[in-house]
Symmetry: C2
Subunit: 191 residues, 2 copies
C-alpha cells in the first residue's frame, strides 16, 4: 500500500506548492498577477490541476490567508511575551501588527482586504483566526471597560487596520506612521 501513500504525499506536496507559489507570486507582483495560467505554469502543471485542489481562485486566496493568520499569531505572541499588560505591551502589539502588514503586504491583503471566502465572526470561523484575535484580546482586555472587552479589542483592531490600509494605499502620508501609531495607543490605553 506504499504506492497509495506515496501518491497522497505527492498530492499534499503539490497542494502546499500551489499555496506557496501563489503567495510568492502575489508578494512579488501583486494579487492581480496571480492568474490561474501563470500559477499553473509556475508549478509546471496545467490549469485544471488547480481545480482538483481548490474550488477556485478564491479558495487559493483563503488557503494563503490561513497561513497568514498563523504567522500573525506567532508574530503577536513574540511581541508580547512577558507579564504585565502595560502601555508598552500594547504599543509593542500594535507595532508588531503594523510591521506584519508592511512586511507581508500581499499576505495581509489576502487576510483582510480581498475576498477569501473565510467566515469571520461566525461559529465556523477557522481556529487560526480565533487565535490571532485571542492574542490581542488577552493583552488588551485589561484596558477595556470590564463589561465589554470584545468590543474594545474589535475597535482597536479596526483602528490598526484602518491605519494599515490607508497608509499602504497612499491615502495617508508615509512619513509619520509611527507617530500616528503612538497617538492611537495613547488614546486606547486607559489612563
Amino acid at each position: 500500500m506504499s504506492v497509495r501513500e506515496r501518491k497522497e504525499r505527492e498530492r499534499a506536496n503539490r497542494h502546499q506548492l500551489i499555496i506557496s507559489t501563489a503567495r510568492e507570486l502575489a508578494e512579488s507582483d501583486g494579487w492581480d498577477a496571480v492568474t490561474t495560467r501563470r500559477l499553473a505554469e509556475r508549478i509546471e502543471f496545467s490549469q485544471p490541476v488547480l481545480y482538483s485542489h481548490f474550488r477556485g481562485k478564491r479558495e487559493i486566496l483563503g488557503a494563503v490567508a490561513l497561513e497568514g493568520f498563523a504567522e500573525l499569531t506567532t508574530a503577536l505572541r513574540a511581541a508580547a511575551p512577558k507579564g504585565p499588560d502595560d502601555r508598552a505591551t500594547v504599543a509593542a502589539l500594535a507595532r508588531a501588527y503594523t510591521d506584519f502588514a508592511t512586511d507581508n503586504p500581499a499576505l495581509y491583503d489576502a487576510m483582510f482586504s480581498l475576498d477569501n471566502g473565510l467566515p469571520f465572526a461566525d461559529e465556523s470561523t477557522p481556529a487560526p483566526l480565533h487565535e490571532a484575535f485571542g492574542v490581542l484580546r488577552e493583552h488588551l482586555a485589561g484596558h477595556a471597560r470590564p463589561d465589554e472587552p470584545g468590543l474594545f479589542v474589535e475597535a482597536f483592531w479596526a483602528a490598526l487596520h484602518g491605519l494599515v490600509t490607508l497608509t499602504r494605499a497612499g491615502r495617508l502620508p508615509a512619513e509619520r506612521v509611527s507617530d500616528r501609531l503612538t497617538l492611537l495607543v495613547d488614546r486606547f490605553v486607559s489612563r
Copy 2:
C-alpha cells in the same frame, strides 16, 4: 457658433451620464458588474465612446469618487453645524461618516477601497478631498494635542475607516456597530 456650443453641451451631458450610470450600476450590482460593455449599453453608445471621455475604467472610478467626496463634505457639514466642538459634535460627525458609508457602499469603495488613481496626500490632491478632510479637522482639532491636530484627525479617520470596511466585509459582527462607534469616540475625545 451655437452649433459648437450645443455639441460641447451634449458632450458634457454624456460625460455626466457616464459617471451617473457607472455609479448607479455599481450601487445596485457592485463594481464588478460595472464593465465597459454593460456601461456602454446602458448609455446606448459603443464602448470606444467611453474612452473618448476617460482614459480607462480607473478614471471613471475616480470621477465617481470625486462626486462622493463632495457629498461626504456636505453630509459632514450638515451633521455638525453649530458652535462648540464637544463630545456630541464628534459623535455626530463619526455617525455621519459611517452612515454615509453604509448608505453608499459602492461610492465609499470608489473613494477609499478601490484604486481610483486620485492623488491623496499630495500637493495635487483635488479640492473636494481636502475639503472633506478639512471639515473633520475643523471640529476635531480642539480634542488633539495642540502641536499635531493633523495627526489626530488622520488617526481618527483611519479608525472610522477601519470600522467601516471590516464591518461591511463581515469581519466584524454587524450587531454592535453603534456601540463600537461610541467606544471609539469616547477614546478619542479628550477627557
